[in-house]
């Protein structure tokens, strides 16, 4: 009988990844948050976490809209805090898109240029833009986030 050697092996396949973990996707959302819902285009880390969580799915966006429409904030019992956002922020700062100044994140001129490109494409992040412009700069202020955080932690 022939002793044939059959060679075999394993190959690592690339895995599918949710856009939530793609750097550019997250950075794009951050620039939109800063521009749409932050006074002076400045935001705390906590507030960024709040909005990144809110825009994680259409379900979340619909939930937050409902909360504001019914003005029943007690329904918000928590929101997600993910390390991915912190990493995205680090990248964005290293790229010169975002500036960390006095615990507040803000857009650099390069960040504004990127923000402009994102806004110019009317077919890009459509639902997210509608959501953020519904929220506007008045509803979710830093004080609001602080109060909400305190209430939840108690």
């Amino acid at each position: 009988m022939d002793n044939k050697i059959i060679k075999g092996g394993f190959r690592q396949r690339n895995v599918p990844l949710s856009p939530d973990y793609r750097p550019l996707y997250k950075i794009g959302l951050i620039t939109l948050i800063l521009q749409y819902v932050c006074r002076g285009n400045k935001s705390s880390l906590n507030k960024l976490h709040f909005f990144i969580w809110a825009m994680k799915s259409e379900k979340n966006m619909a939930f937050i809209r409902m909360v504001f429409m019914t003005e029943d904030l007690s329904k918000v019992v928590s929101w997600g805090v993910e390390p991915a956002l912190n990493k995205a922020l680090n990248y964005a700062i290293a790229e010169g898109i975002i500036l960390l100044d006095n615990n507040r994140y803000t857009l650099t001129s390069k960040g504004q240029l990127i923000n402009k490109l994102i806004r110019a494409d009317k077919s890009l992040l459509v639902r997210e833009k509608i959501f953020l412009s519904y929220i506007g700069k008045q509803k979710v202020t830093e004080d609001f986030i602080t109060t909400l955080t305190e209430r939840i932690s108690n």
Binding site: Q12, N14, V15, P16, L17, S18, P19, D20, Y21, R22, P23, L24, Y25, K26, I27, G28, S57, E58, P83, A84, L85, K87, A88, Y91, A94, E95, I97, K110, L113, I114, L117, I118, D121, K122, S123, L124, L125, R127, E128
Partner: protein, 693 residues
């Protein structure tokens, strides 16, 4: 073509009239005035006179500066240089321009007690230069719904005709066909000082037209894309209409076959080319059997014959047969009821599975949408030349994966395009499951309802048979007579059904023929967006643009790495990566501020040059307000002016302050032989001064 011959502003104040008249000629016009002299107000007045003030970022008098609306400043020239202010009571702007053949003058009020700024009056003749003539005049309107389309009184409709422009229709964001409005096109001809130099086509007004700047570029160079796009759109509409008609017929067939307890076989859900060989047909479900139309008709006929032969036989001779029949019928009923129950529970299981698949589909769709957004964002990142986008850590320069997950997980994510195809494959699979399930449910539903009918029918037969057993046995069977009537009814019904079905199928064939011919005319149009003619225009544009960059002293990147992107028609810088792949980066991210200004000089100038060369749709007019931005060097500015001077058959107008310096002015204009220079700066004059009237 448009050429501005003269402009006059008249401002009546509580202390006399103020204003200025400027005559302009063919070729290069340089209007030199110092920075605070009201230069930009005058530039704004030109736009106002053409109804293009939206380029200044507002409509009507709101776009104009206060000198036309509230306060005129006057420097009293009695040696003391004291400033006094006068309140504006009424102000008007006259603009005299020609299309190379005819001359008209517009008059528009910036402030008037009664007349609104939307009103613009057109005088058919040179009102400013020969004021004595009696001119025909007509009142028109601006910024009204009808101003671009109203034949009689829409000013932009008039201006379109006057300038010889034939504006194409484009599809706006609501999917409606609209004109490529004149003010959009004006954005390539008039560059305003404040925001105009911040980007290419920076002052493009927003009319909800997608990629408006590309459309303007295509229009000015008169590319074939518009006629092609229009034809393509027509074909699309026609196909849509065909497909709508198809589904109407499909729906009718569906209802018809359901009524007959049948299903239609061989009808595609969307229009397709039908052949004679694959003619659609009906399949009838009768109890647990399926029959073709001809088989059904045969079986009805057979039954009828049998019934006819027994109809006159008295019951007494038939009792055994009736008893046999009764037990067969009872057997049928039992079997059908069992089948009915089985199918019923299967269908409810199928429905639950369908619901799960539909939820999955929704999730995949959301995921897909996000991935597509991520893909676009990555493109933007590439344009901005971000290093994370190239897989390099911005801090340490090491290779990184396109993920925010912890690097210790050693996950190698798919590229986004792979991820999208992965999801699309998944989506396809789910869709196939869904379609399959729906088909199964539909089939089972038909079977169930056919079983229901059969059970009912057999029950009533059983009842009649039972009745026959106890009836007067000298008479013919009542059950037989009833059956005869029912069979005749069914026969009629099936014949009518056949007729209606044939009718509908023949309509499908008609639509199919139409579909075929529309499809082939679509194929004849070709798939490429740009025609070869278009490509050669863009090539000429690119090479002229690059030659100008070179001459204007563009140094941020080697000029041979600059390209005109075939998608947006904007300049990009092409860089080659280590792996030989070429990547295009937005020129804004890669040029110094002054080089970006040079690129804009070159861009707008090339647009006029190449459009003129190919007899395109440029107005043959360029108006620049303070083009020497971001301290672009004087010697480069000089080359730019020299280049503009070469356009002898066109008109270029440059408003410039030359940094309020006589030396700069002399240096930049020295050597210009044919320029028409209006110098307000040498005497430090203001644009708006007291006039004697």
């Amino acid at each position: 073509m448009l050429q501005i011959e003269a402009i006059r502003a008249v401002i009546h104040t509580n202390d006399g009239a103020f204003g200025r008249t400027i005559m302009l000629g063919k070729g290069l016009n340089i209007i030199r005035a110092n920075n605070t002299s009201g230069k930009s107000s005058f530039f704004g007045a030109i736009l106002y006179g053409l109804g293009f003030e939206e380029l200044l970022g507002g409509r009507n008098e709101k776009a104009l500066q206060s000198v036309f609306k509230s306060v005129v400043k006057e420097i009293v020239s009695d040696g003391t240089n004291t400033e006094s202010e006068h309140r504006v009571i009424q102000s008007e702007i006259y603009l005299q321009f020609s299309n190379g053949k005819d001359v008209v003058t517009t008059r528009r009020f910036a402030l008037h007690e009664k007349i609104k700024a939307q009103a613009i009056e057109v005088f058919f003749g040179p009102l400013i230069t020969s004021a004595n003539e009696e001119l025909r005049r007509q009142g028109m309107y601006l910024h009204d719904k009808g101003s671009a389309s109203n034949e009689d009184i829409g000013f932009h409709r008039f201006l379109e005709e006057f300038s010889g422009a034939v504006l194409p229709e484009v599809v706006n964001q609501d999917g409606r066909k609209v004109k490529l409005y004149l003010p959009l096109i004006a954005a390539a001809h008039f560059i305003e000082q404040k925001a105009g130099w911040s980007d290419f086509f920076a002052n493009l007004p927003y009319y909800g037209i997608r990629d408006a700047n590309s459309k303007v570029f295509e229009y000015i160079l008169d590319l074939d894309v518009f006629s092609k796009a229009l034809k393509r759109q027509e074909i699309q509409n026609h196909l849509k209409q065909i497909s709508d008609r198809w589904s109407v017929i499909l729906n009718k067939i569906e209802i018809l076959s359901k009524r007959g307890g049948a299903e239609a076989v061989g009808i595609p859900l969307s229009p397709e080319i039908l052949t004679k060989e694959n003619k659609p047909y009906l399949r009838f479900l009768r109890a647990d059997k399926s029959l073709l139309l001809s088989e059904l008709i045969n079986s009805i006929n057979r039954d009828l014959q049998e019934v006819m032969s027994q109809i006159n036989v008295p019951l007494s001779q038939n009792l055994d047969k009736i008893e046999d029949d009764l037990s067969t019928v009872k057997g049928h009923i039992e079997r059908y009821e069992l089948l009915y129950e089985n199918l019923g529970s299967q269908v409810s299981q199928d429905r639950e599975r369908l619901r799960q698949y539909l939820t999955q589909l929704k999730n995949v769709d959301e995921d897909l949408r996000k991935n597509k957004d991520a893909e676009k964002l990555q493109k933007i990142g590439l344009e901005a030349n971000l290093s994370i986008d190239r897989g390099i850590c911005p801090t340490c320069g090491q290779a990184i994966n396109d993920t925010l997950l912890n690097e210790h997980l050693h996950i190698k994510p798919m590229r986004i395009d792979e991820n999208i195809s992965f999801l699309q494959a998944q989506r396809k699979m789910i869709e196939a499951f869904i379609q399959n399930l729906r088909e199964q449910i539909r089939e089972k539903d038909i079977k169930i309802s056919s079983l229901e009918t059969s059970i009912q029918r057999n029950r009533s037969i059983a009842r009649s048979l039972k009745k026959s057993l106890i009836a007067d046995d000298r008479l013919p069977s009542e059950e037989i007579i009833e059956r005869k009537l029912n069979l005749e009814k069914e026969q009629n019904f099936i014949y009518r059904l056949r007729e209606e079905f044939e009718q509908l199928v023949s309509e499908l064939y008609k639509i199919s023929t139409e579909y075929n011919s529309v499809r082939s005319s679509g194929a004849a149009l070709g798939g490429d967006y740009l025609s070869s003619n278009d490509l050669s225009k863009i090539e000429s544009f690119e090479s002229y643009f690059k030659s100008l960059l070179e001459r204007f002293g563009f140094t941020s990147k080697p000029v041979n790495t600059i390209k005109i992107s075939p998608e947006k028609y904007l300049p990009v810088y092409e860089l080659s990566l280590n792996n030989g792949i070429k990547r295009q980066v937005d020129i804004r991210f890669e040029s110094s501020a002054s080089d970006f200004i040079r690129a804009q000089w070159a861009y707008y100038t090339s647009l006029m040059k190449i459009s003129t060369e190919y007899a395109g749709n440029h107005f043959r007019l360029l108006v620049f307000d303070e083009p020497q931005q971001q301290s672009a060097a004087n010697q480069n500015f000089k080359v730019f002016l020299k280049e503009l001077e070469n356009f002898q058959n066109e008109q270029t107008i440059v408003f410039a302050s030359f940094q309020n310096s006589n030396d700069d002015f002399r240096e930049a204009t020295n050597g210009l032989l044919k320029a028409h220079i209006i110098d307000l700066a040498s005497n430090s004059e203001l644009f708006i001064t007291r006039i004697n009237s």
